[in-house]
């Protein structure tokens, strides 16, 4: 179905009056107005004085930060029960949420805070119409558009959004919307436009990343000699930006913030790039050198997570490359290491 983009946004702005169950609406806005630089986007609360941008490329922060908070109380758990809508979620981040679901909901335990955010959020994804310099989802079997994992998906067709429904919850939202704004049926030619646009962006992606293509024998990464890893990691300063901004990293530290009245546990992000990460009492650590820790991140993403969840921990969002203080290009490292892994065999 089709809705006019402007009337869709005006509906969002009025949504709180229509149905107050949605406590917050979060969507990407331009985060800087420097005309020369490529734009960057960040998730913000709906603000009717600004124009959101749903169909550009991914936000600077992963959607993870809205479901797995940087700092969050996990015991005792408070019933948040706050319904919210997040729009403009990209395919790479949906893929990451899918992996986080496996890790945090389907691994024999349930992270209670993550589950609450997940249960109470309506996700409206949107196609990428442009590419960030570091975008590389095509290298890890991804696409710049979503085919599942969303409640609703938006693709731009001229002045309209073409809406695809992905869940019952999405259907309910559409029913509510139909009462307020005009919703037209989409035609075969609308679908053709979406298809052609998706293909165009995907082809641009392939062309852009052709020199970064890597092999897929990920379980052989660990066989690559340490010297090559030393070479790859020689610029790394171990700041951990890559892991904190990664949409699939969820390593945590648990702080005890108990009061005299009750026990309180708060989790926040940890990073395997930090020296103290796996250190045990007495000072022993399995990865004392930066190279060991650098290598661990790649093995975790491509080998360990694959073993644990039957999918790799990279969505190709490129944020680690963008965030790297030492300008290490993750894609280059993967390419070089995968090439060496192939040689080992």
């Amino acid at each position: 179905m089709l809705v006019n983009i402007l009337s869709f946004f005006s509906f969002l702005n009025r949504l709180n009056e229509i149905d107050n169950k949605f406590c917050s609406i979060i969507l990407p806005y331009r985060a800087r107005s420097d005309d020369d630089a490529p734009p960057i986007f960040s998730f913000q609360k709906l603000n009717n004085s600004k124009v959101p941008v749903l169909n550009y490329y991914r936000t600077i922060d992963p959607t993870k930060i809205l479901f797995y908070l940087f700092r969050e109380k996990v015991y005792p758990i408070e019933n948040k029960n706050l319904q919210r809508i997040i729009l403009g979620v990209k395919a790479c981040d949906l893929k990451a949420l899918h992996l986080l679901d496996k890790a945090l909901l389907q691994s024999g335990f349930i992270d209670p805070a993550y589950k609450q955010w997940r249960d109470n959020t309506l996700i409206i994804s949107s196609d990428c119409d442009y590419l960030h310099e570091t975008c590389s989802c095509n290298l890890v079997n991804g696409h710049p558009y979503s085919e599942n994992g969303f409640d609703l998906n938006l693709s731009v067709v001229d002045e309209n959004f073409l809406i695809q429904i992905g869940s019952e919850r999405g259907q309910e939202f559409v029913e509510l919307m139909k009462k307020e704004i005009t919703v037209a049926d989409s035609t075969a030619s609308d679908l053709e436009i979406v298809k052609a646009n998706r293909k165009k962006v995907f082809n641009q992606l392939i062309e852009k990343n052709i020199h970064l293509t890597h092999s897929e024998n990920f379980s052989d990464f660990r066989k690559v000699d340490l010297k090559s890893w030393e070479e790859a990691s020689k610029e790394c300063i171990g700041c951990g930006a890559c892991t904190n901004i990664c949409p699939t990293c969820y390593c945590l530290i648990l702080n005890d913030e108990s009061t005299e009245k009750e026990f309180i546990k708060v989790r926040s992000y940890d990073s395997c790039q930090w020296y103290g990460y796996a250190r045990v009492a007495g000072g022993g650590t399995p990865r004392p050198k930066m190279t060991d820790r650098f290598r661990n991140r790649y093995l975790c993403k491509f080998d360990y997570m694959h073993k644990n969840f039957a999918e790799i921990g990279c969505t190709g969002c490129g944020r680690c490359t963008e965030a790297c203080a030492a300008k290490i290009d993750f894609r280059e490292v993967v390419k070089n290491i995968s090439f060496l892994a192939q040689e080992v065999n």
Partner: protein, 273 residues
């Protein structure tokens, strides 16, 4: 929905100074914590933090537990300052346990050193509860010096069982200390006993270097890789496979372990570090 971060308060009612650096805390959790021997719990001090420890008491008692803890870092320093009446926070139990059903009818060998005796005491006490189910139990226990030996007051009790051997060794006897038992590395005791490796289990826990050479010796004597059980103590932070600190290759020490067979993990990296 069970919250894996749930904390069960527990009151410390007795503290035993086992050795200069090792103490056993005895505590009663506010609600019972049923566990299987070999599994671990997180012991926390309000406002300070928590760490993984394996109960050293029998798994037949769920409402009165012991943990034996060596002073070796930030948290354990605080644990050693605890007094009778203090309240600690327990999470768990977590992880895999010793497969007792596989040990039944067998000649069971237990090899431990230092504070690694803690989980082994739990296993040992649990087995003593049904000691007739096992053909024999041989417990080889090591310590640096006589005063580092732990569970001193219990040894004579343990030696009363017909099918149980409890053999101790210290690495050295400093001048002025008394010792009438063996003086050697605990792994050397393996040569002294009449071992029956064939199809029998050996359970090892201790400092990494002892576990490594103990395992290699056991293999040399003919124990099978799949019958050597190791307690892999890594940084088990959350306890259920979320925080990833204790990952050993594709395994989690907290969830797939801490009890692993050597066959399971022999090809993983840095297992002894």
């Amino acid at each position: 929905m069970q919250n894996p971060y749930e904390v069960i308060p527990a009151e410390v009612y007795e503290i035993i100074q086992e050795s200069p650096l090792i103490r056993t805390l005895r505590f009663k959790p506010k609600k019972p914590i049923p566990f299987k021997t070999g599994q671990f719990i997180e012991v926390g001090i309000p406002g300070i933090g928590e760490g993984p420890f394996t109960p050293s008491s029998s798994h037949y008692i769920a409402d009165d537990m012991d943990v034996t803890i060596m002073k070796t870092g930030f948290l354990t320093e605080y644990i050693h300052k605890l007094r009778v009446g203090d309240v600690i926070g327990i999470r768990g139990p977590f992880g895999s346990n010793y497969p007792l059903e596989k040990f039944k009818g067998k000649d069971v060998l237990i090899l431990g050193g230092g504070c690694g005796l803690a989980p082994l005491r739990s296993l040992f006490l649990t087995m003593l509860h049904d000691n007739k189910d096992y053909n024999s139990i041989t417990f080889l226990a090591g310590a640096k010096t006589p005063k580092d030996c732990i569970y001193k007051d219990e040894v004579s009790e343990w030696r009363k069982y017909d099918n149980v051997r409890f053999i101790r060794a210290v690495d050295e006897v400093p001048p002025g200390e008394q010792w009438e038992e063996d003086v050697c590395l605990v792994t050397k005791l393996l040569q002294k006993i009449n071992m029956k490796p064939d199809g029998n289990p050996a359970i090892v826990c201790g400092p990494p270097v002892m576990m490594k050479f103990g395992t290699l010796d056991l293999l040399k004597f003919g124990y099978k890789e799949e019958n050597i059980y190791l307690s892999m103590e890594k940084k088990m932070y959350c306890g259920f496979g979320q925080c990833r600190h204790c990952v050993i290759g594709g395994y989690y020490a907290c969830k797939d372990g801490p009890v692993f067979t050597y066959a399971q993990i022999k090809n993983e990296e840095a297992i002894w570090d």
